[in-house]
Symmetry: C2
């Protein structure tokens, strides 16, 4: 495997993009925070089906971490990440420093109202403005034809879709399906924080979402399924359940408390010790 | 004079820009809210010296007006504006509807901290986020080589410079000098609100800034000159003085209360009845 180029500044990135564009290549961007797993690599594979030149960014964005969160501890292993990206068919890695993205004097914040407010936005109040700000910068710096984001961070995907429309960015935002372990646990860089015992409990998150989707598709009431799902997670050993909710798949608005009248998205966040896991699942409504 | 094309949607704008770029033309944008005067036309002339294809946008941006302000009453006369822009050498007018800029579901707000906070930001708390949001959209939609903004709105110019750097926009932000009436009054679309009597008082704003700049350049103390300038405006007949201050020309930070140790920008806002006028002036420090 040949080494792939690593660029570290917006100017060097733009030069690579300009070279690729001059050959007529379509450009894809897959933003990541590194600590790559097969989920990330699936983004690169999807990018490869839609563009001739795929750039993966590797940047742990301080703006999207609250002071109490795991910015400093977040796993970083650039050499391993770059090797994996090269194997997956990536053509260029953009790994800027914090100072290259946020130079002295940086003062701008982007907020996406509405879809940012509930769920993760309730638990992590400044998280999505940090995400929106860095993703806007990465998209403007790269100006790709397509950008690939995983459905694992479903709310983030909706925030970024809204952002791209609202700021008139010419990038198509493409959703990539969640990649899971054999026992159903969604791949996440934060799974590495789990103890062996917590790792045994963790698949209950996906299992309970599957149960709830089936329950709702059979006509169960939303409020009851949400309450029972929360209880099942606690019984399985989760230390706290931040939310377990059926929401509108496009704007994350609440569904009514009764049986689903239309398809929904089930979204959940729960904690095992200090590790916070999130997951989500599409949910059909009962047949009329 | 041939009529110039008027485009009303981002897609139609992009097509015009794409056509012009394909001929190798450099693109200039001069954002305006219409109600054009010679100050605006000077922006178009500066644009013409820096680019081969000049687009003027005409859009009264509701986001930058507070509910109590003059959005509905703001003067609008598109036919007159377009004729003037054509005479000044503009090649294309972008006059979108509010719905074209902010379609249903629009949810994104851009804030520029720091330079937005004082002066106008103190009196009009949501003004600069409205400005930053619309200017980011206009710059992203147009992607011009240069964009021209008048120094009359000096703080706005600094906000936009910061925004363009922070969002990695590839547009050079160019400042245009203030254009004045013979008696010194800075041209403004809001001057049309003035009664004859108010119009007689209005030039005192510039005259007092000129006096203050001279006073400070001779070594007067900032705090005393600011206080006396405010008093002079009241004595001249202004109903209220929102601010009359010497500030750092780049970040609008406060100068010390004593004599200037470095050049400053004098900025003032004062009211005549319900009309609010702003003006500003460069100010040298005393010779060492």
């Amino acid at each position: 495997m040949n080494p792939i180029p690593i660029v570290r500044t917006p100017a060097a990135l733009r030069e690579k993009v300009s070279q690729a564009r001059s050959t007529g290549a379509r450009i894809a961007l897959t933003p990541t925070m590194g600590a790559l797993h097969r989920g990330h690599l699936s983004l690169v594979e999807i990018a490869g089906a839609r563009a001739e030149f795929t750039i993966a960014s590797v940047f742990v964005n301080p703006l999207q971490f609250a002071p109490s969160e795991d910015f400093a501890a977040y796993p970083r292993n650039e050499a391993h990440d770059v090797a994996q990206l090269a194997s997956a068919g990536c053509h260029c890695v953009y790994a800027p420093t914090v100072e290259a993205i946020y130079p002295a004097g940086f003062s701008t914040t982007i907020n996406v109202a509405g879809v940012s407010a509930a769920l993760e936005g309730g638990v992590r109040p400044s998280h999505f403005s940090g995400v929106a700000t860095v993703v806007a910068k990465l998209l403007i710096q790269t100006n790709p034809h397509v950008a690939i984001f995983g459905e694992k961070d479903y709310q983030q995907l909706l925030v970024i879709r809204r952002l791209a429309i609202d700021l008139d960015l010419s990038t198509e935002v493409v959703a990539a399906p969640i990649v899971r372990e054999a026992d159903g646990l969604a791949l996440s860089s934060r799974n590495s924080y789990l103890t062996d015992q917590q790792r045994q409990i963790a698949p209950a998150l996906h299992r309970t979402l599957v149960w709830a989707a089936e329950d709702l598709s059979k006509g169960a009431a939303v409020a009851e399924t949400e309450a029972e799902g929360t209880g099942r997670l606690r019984d399985a050993g989760f230390d706290n359940v931040d939310y377990f909710e059926a929401r509108d798949p496009l704007d994350l608005g609440r569904m009514g408390p009764g049986p689903l009248a239309r398809p929904a998205r089930l979204l959940a966040a729960a904690r095992l010790g200090r590790t916070r896991l999130i997951d989500n699942l599409a949910c059909e409504s009962p047949r009329a």
